[in-house]
């Protein structure tokens, strides 16, 4: 009997005991694989978890989760389970599976297995307690591993999307030779401000711009850090030989800038985008005239 020493176990051999108990446990779970798996799948359906997936899919996933679960119990290593959890999350997140569902099914499995252990060792209370001592920490770690894997995958997706939004959110557009506009919509946080500066300075360089119009009509408010950042951006652009015209300052933003006493002497500001573009054109030496006025001028000459 492998667990014979366990009966008269002391602290010294308790590690070995836990190992052999775990082995016994795994053997039990392997033996009753089909039955336990089916019970689990039906509990999932009952609890109305994973409603985004069909019954067959649930059963197929349940099978592989079950096998991975038992394997993690057996080897006590969580790497392959982690990889599996990540892979599973990748597949099911786009289908709208929620965090509570994933955590829910893993906890359900834990309960189903614990129930079956209760059933098996009902007669021997001490043995049951020891088996549970071995099972519970491992089972909890598995639940944590799967939940963390799922949440991490979610966070990764969110980060990617944020990155995409951020990239889309600061376009640098050339409207005329050497004239750029940067329309900014939405709140500016320090990170976005940094990105904006980077894009603007790069845009100035690659388009050989002389004037850039920074339109903040769509910005609801800015704080002092961002305001200072704007001033620095204007200054840095000057070092590249370009002028920045800031347009569309709302009354609230104007108030903020005055209250925190930002040095406005360094910034050229114009009321709205149209005025800003006109001012930029003037500086670049453009004059925009309606076509109807041109023959008239020629007649005068």
């Amino acid at each position: 009997m492998p667990n014979k020493p366990a009966v008269r176990a002391t602290e010294v051999v308790s590690a070995e005991t836990a190992g052999s108990l775990l082995r016994e446990l795994v053997a039990h779970l392997r033996q009753n694989r089909t039955q336990l798996r089916e019970e689990w799948a039906s509990r999932i359906t009952e609890a109305q978890l994973l409603t985004a997936m069909s019954k067959e899919e649930i059963f197929a996933e349940a099978t592989s989760v079950y096998d991975n679960y038992v394997e993690a119990l057996e080897t006590e290593t969580f790497e392959s389970l982690q990889a599996y959890a990540r892979n599973l999350s990748e597949r099911i997140i786009p289908r709208g599976v929620e965090t509570h569902e994933v955590v829910g099914i893993v906890l359900l499995l834990r309960d189903v297995l614990a129930r079956s252990l209760f059933g098996k060792y009902r007669a021997d209370y001490n043995k049951l307690a020891r088996i549970l001592d071995a099972y519970e920490p491992a089972a909890n770690r598995i639940a944590i591993t799967v939940a963390v894997g799922f949440v991490q995958e979610r966070e990764r997706i969110i980060r990617e999307q944020q990155e995409a939004i951020r990239e889309l959110s600061t376009p640098v557009l050339q409207v005329r030779e050497r004239l750029l506009i940067l329309p900014i919509i939405g709140a500016i946080d320090p990170q976005r401000a940094r990105q904006l500066t980077e894009q603007l300075l790069r845009g100035i360089r690659s388009n050989r711009a002389k004037v850039a119009v920074l339109d903040i009509t769509g910005v609801p408010y800015i704080d002092s850090a961002v305001a200072n950042h704007l001033v620095q951006t204007v200054e840095a652009s000057r070092l590249l030989g370009a002028t920045v015209i800031v347009t569309g300052l709302s009354p609230e933003i104007a108030q903020t800038l005055v209250n925190i006493s930002v040095d406005l002497a360094k910034m050229t500001t114009v009321g709205d985008l149209q005025g800003g573009i006109e001012e930029a054109e003037r500086r670049l030496g453009y004059k925009v005239v309606p076509l109807s006025e041109i023959p008239q001028q020629q007649e005068e000459q």
Binding site: R208, K210, Q232, T233, A236, L239, G241
Partner: protein
């Protein structure tokens, strides 16, 4: 390393080739200020394209050059500051106040041509 200062028509072009020590910078300043009088130049371009760091001493020396050149009756323009360098400088509070800057050599020349029109000998 010494910075070559080239005469190009009415202008002087100092094209920095590598990172400069403080001593090199002082030498550059002295040689530009001297040459601008000797060669009767009307404008000076300092090209800093290769510099990926600008410390406070470099910035101050460039500003000094610009102010000294102005006193000598000519215009200075700093060209080729890299975007990253520009922002780092501004964050450190080194913003070359009162000194003209341009994107590159071509822009710098265009700036000087605008700023100091040809002398009277060619007529208007």
């Amino acid at each position: 390393m010494e910075v070559p200062v080239l005469k190009q028509g009415d202008y002087l072009i100092a094209s920095i080739q590598s990172a400069l020590s403080d001593q090199d910078l002082v030498q550059l300043r002295d040689s530009i200020v001297q040459k601008v009088g000797k060669l009767r130049s009307r404008g000076v371009i300092v090209d800093v394209t290769v510099l990926d760091v600008m410390d406070s001493f470099a910035t101050r020396t460039l500003r000094d050059i610009a102010h000294m050149i102005r006193l000598r009756g000519a215009e200075t323009v700093i060209v080729g500051i890299q975007p990253e360098v520009a922002f780092a400088m501004v964050q450190l509070g080194l913003s070359l106040e009162g000194v003209a800057c341009a994107l590159d050599l071509e822009e710098g020349l265009a700036y000087l041509n605008r700023k100091s029109p040809k002398s009277t000998k060619k007529g208007a």
